[in-house]
Symmetry: C2
């Protein structure tokens, strides 16, 4: 994306990263707007995402920066970036390769609330996680 | 929504609230899947949301529980609740009354990244915030 380096610094300075230096990000399918996943970015992850056009995140559990798809090959190409009114949440519209979820589903939100609890409904795995994450 | 009290307790116990007792929530328009806002819920906000069918949140800045629309009248009626693979993020599909954003826009994500920074594009306010928040 054609932001200059100084434009990008200014943009990053204008966002409200939380006390851990993170921003929440909604990631949706660019073609359908269907939510794929929710994750966190720190400043460096956002810089890399904007510079490369591929989603990068900060893993809270592993305390490390990661390129989505670095293990699975299921990368996310960024088509649009949006920010919310408060500057503390981001929205990315992406072209998802393979599936977004490590369980093999296209979206991480494959369970909906039914009368007795969470149920999987009308969804099939798009890949076999045992084959993708060896 | 027809969950029994014990079902609801079990459901809440199965979620991974963070160290502050919060879960992130993506809120989208039930008809179009377009993202409206991102916010946090604690256990009580989620219980009230499921019991009443109206979105309740935890405000991090005001440290209080709030019913969305309690001031503006712009409530959100829940049509579907989803959870992500890790149980640490929620997705709500809602019917939005008025607009979701306190600035008067239908969605909080009214700015997109352009070549020089954030730009408002093709969006009009659906209400006048000066008249709604007196």
């Amino acid at each position: 994306m054609p932001l200059t380096e100084s434009n990008l610094d200014e943009l990053l300075d204008g966002l409200k990263f939380d006390e851990k230096g993170l921003l929440g990000a909604i990631v949706v399918d660019a073609a359908t707007d269907k939510p794929l996943m929710f994750a966190f970015l720190n400043r460096e992850a956002l810089r890399l995402t904007i510079e490369t056009g591929k989603m990068h995140y900060w893993s809270r559990s592993r305390s490390k920066l990661w390129l989505k798809g670095e293990t699975s090959g299921h990368t996310q190409d960024v088509r649009e970036v949006r920010v919310d009114c408060d500057g503390d949440a981001l929205l990315f519209k992406v072209d998802q390769s393979g599936g977004a979820c490590h369980t093999g589903f296209y979206s991480c939100f494959y369970r909906k609330l039914g009368t007795g609890g969470w149920v999987e409904e009308g969804v099939e795995r798009v890949f076999d996680p045992d084959k993708v994450y060896k």
